[in-house]
Symmetry: C2
């Protein structure tokens, strides 16, 4: 690099670093809000978050960034820059164009309307009355459409909705998602029918064993330790807290998860901790050389979800994992002493059509997502209106899952996402399932005996594969390219379907 180019590039990275560091501080403020903030502090906290987001926007739209980008791109030496440098520039440019394209007033209006709508949603959901919700939802949707139309031009997507998808799964075409989800739907329907036709009806009775919270905390510690997510040592970069809804937050050396302990449902926390630890490992294993650079972050929401689902489902619901791990947790929780491996594996893999996404099993989960994807896509294409939303929801639940929705609180108002302005987010969950299937197939090719390693309690090989092929790659590639490099193929639901068919064929005996 020439010294001019070099100094412009360095200056850009310094500016970018500020925004990244600010995000990590915002992460701590959010974390505190969910866990430890005194109830009365709500107003003060909203002031803090609004200010930090304003500062963040200011940092991200600093005209100096535009000038530096411009001078670099015009430099005759630009082409000779390295891959990492070019990717950083690409990501800085993308973010700068997107952030500067949105008028400040629209950003502020959106933030305000999101706060209002999520508040209305809480009340309407409690009263099971969609009519209370729809006016505020309409307003938020209108503002989001305005933003999506602006972003569509900047991102050069075919539709406004595709621009929103791109916020979570960059450069993944809506067509690809639609096609893949259709294939997944076509594969899941017969699988679920086969499972339902089976004589085998697993009992979940063993999951009712009472495990005191203190013992469950020890189980959590065993899980994170086994997965290599350090939350306890004097060099730990992680920690575990307790919230109603589990989540992960953090970056590199400070990545925190939460879980929830139900004495009458010990498995709930186990799978939350496995899931959130998957997210945490991804953040912690990013390339330290890239810390605070755009390339030093995770690739997409879907890839993130593939890591959590990999540890929750592929590892955490496998017989091999529990062969070695069940004896360990019995030492931490004596009330599980008589728990047998076979009935436990059956119970944690029970498949059932249900109404609530977050309670769904590994097989039916993606159907809940496909329903939401189709509805939000149609909302943004004006194919359905807010008024028609509940009916559309109920119809799809009847068609895809064969369940009858009794009211809109278990229907169209089930999740917070649409009330929070998170349109285009839902597909990430099913993409995570699909990617995790591809990853498992590739892992099996590279490390054929990973199942037996797992049965011996050895996760080093598995963790190492993910670290090399996914985590360390950071944001060097868009998700479609990353998954192709890691697994040899672009987005493909086939491996996930094969995995499900093989696993559940074995469990249910078909």
């Amino acid at each position: 690099m020439t010294s001019n180019l070099d100094s412009a590039y360095r200056e850009l990275l310094i500016k970018t670093k500020d925004a990244v560091v600010l995000s990590t501080a915002e992460g701590i403020i959010h974390w505190d809000m969910e866990i430890y903030m005194p109830p009365k502090a709500v107003e003060q906290r909203s002031q803090q978050l609004a200010l930090l987001s304003r500062i963040h926007h200011k940092l991200g739209t600093d005209p100096e960034i535009g000038k530096l980008l411009n001078s670099i791109q015009k430099s005759p030496d630009y082409e000779a820059m390295g891959q990492v440098e070019k990717r950083n520039l690409y990501l800085i440019n993308k973010s700068y164009l997107e952030q500067t394209a949105l008028p400040e007033k629209l950003v502020a209006d959106l933030a305000m309307q999101e706060a209002l709508t999520v508040n209305t949603w809480k009340k309407a959901k409690a009263k099971k009355d969609f009519n209370l919700f729809k006016a505020d939802l309409q307003k938020l949707l209108d503002l989001s459409k305005q933003a999506a139309e602006i972003l569509m031009k900047v991102k050069e997507t075919k539709t406004p909705y595709e621009a929103l998808l791109d916020n979570f799964e960059p450069k993944m075409p809506a067509e690809t998602i639609t096609k893949t989800f259709n294939q997944l739907l076509a594969g899941l329907k017969p699988l679920i029918a086969k499972i339902e036709d089976c004589q085998t009806k697993p009992s979940t009775q063993v999951l009712n064993l009472v495990v005191p919270v203190e013992n469950q905390r020890k189980i959590t510690q065993l899980i994170t330790e086994t997965l290599g997510y350090d939350t306890a040592s004097s060099e730990a970069g992680g920690r575990v807290d307790e919230t109603e809804h589990p989540f992960t937050t953090g970056y590199y050396d400070d990545v925190r998860i939460t879980t929830h302990y139900y004495p009458n449902n010990f498995a709930s926390s186990i799978f939350s901790v496995l899931h959130e630890s998957g997210h945490a490992l991804y953040e912690q294993n990013l390339n330290p050389e890239w810390q605070y650079q755009p390339v030093g972050s995770t690739c997409s929401y879907g890839i993130h979800e593939s890591q959590s689902r990999f540890y929750e489902n592929i590892i955490g619901r496998s017989k091999e994992f529990w062969t070695g791990f069940l004896p360990k947790i019995k030492q931490a929780a004596p009330s599980l002493n008589n728990l047998q491996l076979e009935p436990f594996i059956q119970a944690i893999n029970k498949v059932e059509r249900s109404k609530i996404r977050i309670e769904a099993d590994e097989v039916t989960y993606s159907l809940h997502i496909i329903i939401r994807f189709e509805i939000e896509r149609d909302l943004f294409a004006d194919k359905i209106t807010v008024n028609e939303l509940p009916e559309a929801w109920n119809q799809k639940y009847a068609d895809y899952l064969g369940v009858k929705i009794e009211n809109d609180s278990e229907g169209a108002m089930q999740d917070t996402h649409w009330a929070s302005g998170l349109y285009g987010y839902f597909p990430s969950y099913a993409l995570g399932n699909i990617y995790s299937g591809q990853i498992t197939a590739a892992l099996t090719k590279d490390l054929p005996d990973w199942h037996s390693q797992l049965a011996e309690g050895k996760l080093e090989g598995i963790n190492g594969w993910l670290k090399t092929n996914i985590h360390r790659q950071g944001d060097l590639y868009d998700p479609e390219e990353l998954i192709k490099r890691a697994t040899g193929r672009t987005l493909d639901s086939e491996p996930h379907l094969q995995y499900l068919n093989k696993k559940y064929g074995g469990l249910y005996g078909f």
Copy 2:
């Protein structure tokens, strides 16, 4: 106000508010660092704090503030503005002049040298070797002198050290502090001699009763509840956590304290919680109408300390308080069942010459502060050098407290303040004692039966007096004016000395 003046004033308040809100966010980040941050996160956290402090400095030195101030001060309607508005303008102007006067490089150099010196101090203290410490201390002192000389001109103080004092106790002349501390010293010496000459030698044996941490947590809850500092209800604006060194942080509806539980020393946490709750009540009782304005903050470090010492000593070491409260804590901690009032009161009021400030009793505490005040004043006046510091320390401890310092870790390297660049801070502690004496005298005049109210467990009258006369006044007056309005006299050590003489005369029987 004319509409121009009005809009300039409003704009100033909006700018000021950002800096206040940012401080509260920084407070949460600091709080997390002390309590919950994973050990590995140190580097990331230092990046966050450096960025937030840079943003803070930028907000505080925004040239727009100078322009707005200028236009308001030149307005013919300025004189007709109200008291609160004028005080806000005064405080904004003071802070703006001080922040803009310091060159950015000096601010950055100071921050870096503080981090280095405090690190060196930790190592040198562990090795009891002042020689390891002195070079870094000298560098920090030199930079602090540079800053003090600049601030002296802006603040129009007589000496550089007085400019540093002003950072903690605005507008309190160094002469006044010197005179008052000399009077205090002159009053304390004979009192301590009298106590030492007494036949009564209180036993502290009852303080060795073992109280499990769980029970101590219940005692904490009882204390905060009794004092009216809500840390537990669904409308709480406070909370209690555990750290090695107790502290308070927060503002209005989010004020948090910490404590430390020693099973073999239950009194330690009791007095920490009483002390920190005093700080917390001050922050929580500020005038809500002034929130986020300069006037809506506490007055000075000394006044803050008067509140914590009032609840810790005047209330918390009184016989009246324990008459009602001892039966309560016995319910929370059954191991205290045989604890009798009299020996407990004797034990928690034992007076003893000692070497360590934070372990000192109510009577000797101020002597530890006066020693530090005199030394730092002389350091900044070049009357003693860094090389002479240990000897000066040891000599004063021999003269004022009659104790022999064995090494510099219990001597000149005892506290973190000088290693952290906090010059001018120490006097606040003794000023707190002095103010609390004046406050107690005024309270007694206005509410003559407060002792009997306290014995009945009623703190409403006492709390109400403090709220009206101190807390609600916010930063409307400089501390000397505030204390004059609240107690009828300017800084005066006499009431504190009278309180001590009366109380300890009763306890020791002279």
